[in-house]
Symmetry: C2
Subunit: 164 residues, 2 copies
């Protein structure tokens, strides 16, 4: 009964997509995942990756993953890490796998001299919030997340005005 | 009386740091900026930049900036852009410079096939919130920002336990 954590390789892309879908389902957005294996392969395993992944296996079975990329702090003058996804399959919870993944991402941040590791959590996800608090996280509740997406982004860019 | 927007070059680093300090002051954290010119030069203008900047000038005077980096959406399977800082000096407000900067960042996102542009705003910053809403932004208020920083990050990484 052992958990191992390792960096993802290109052959892990199908499993990475399975984890992404598993997390979307948990976040009550099962149909939100448009990403394909080709997308993930192109963007994570080329010469200039946009993201990195850690894979957790328990007794040789895929159990969970952490998906992160670099952010940047203008106050600290250093890159940070942003944890886009952290997910453990329901049947592997309670074994410390999420904690092991989070600790490994933190270790990568320290190793890369990134003084900050950030992420977002859904406000109804109390188990996650309690877990993160126990791990030493702070909650920056004076900040609101803002986003422009899809057609609104194109309109803002001026590249595509709405049809008259 | 004209505003120009251009990509930052290495020689802009002192002015970028001035903008960062100006924004920190506006955000009521005037002493929070630890970044140095050397940090910003190393991280933004080497072979693999961690960030990019747009500089706005009005009648040849530095007026504002936008500071961004790549994020990644696991749902969309594409990189996005994250706008870390958007700032216009108080004496240059009301001239549409912030809007011009935001539109240019949106245009860069569209050009790079990034379907999402995200950022954060302080909840008391009503003028900014109204402006972003008018620009087509959505507010993702079910998400809370989480962060582990400094010594808490080192403890989480296991690299440095608190002294006994």
């Amino acid at each position: 009964m052992a958990t191992t954590i390792r960096s993802a390789v290109a052959n892990d892309v199908p499993q990475i997509l399975e984890f992404i879908r598993g997390l979307a389902k948990y976040e009550r957005e099962p149909d939100a995942v448009m990403a394909t294996e080709a997308d993930l392969l192109r963007d994570g395993f080329g010469p200039n990756p946009y993201y990195w992944c850690l894979m957790a296996e328990h007794d040789g079975q895929p159990a969970g993953f952490a998906f992160y990329f670099f952010s940047y702090s203008t106050w600290l003058g250093r890159p940070g890490l942003y944890l886009e996804d952290l997910f453990v399959y329901p049947e592997f919870r309670g074994l410390g796998i999420g904690k092991a993944l989070l600790k490994r991402v933190a270790a990568i941040a320290v190793e890369k001299d990134c003084p900050r590791l950030g992420w977002d959590v859904l406000d109804w996800n109390t188990p996650a919030i309690d877990f993160y608090r126990a791990m030493g996280a702070e909650f920056l509740d004076t900040w609101r997340n803002v986003r422009v997406t899809g057609d609104a982004l194109k309109r803002l860019a001026g590249a595509e005005e709405p049809a008259q």
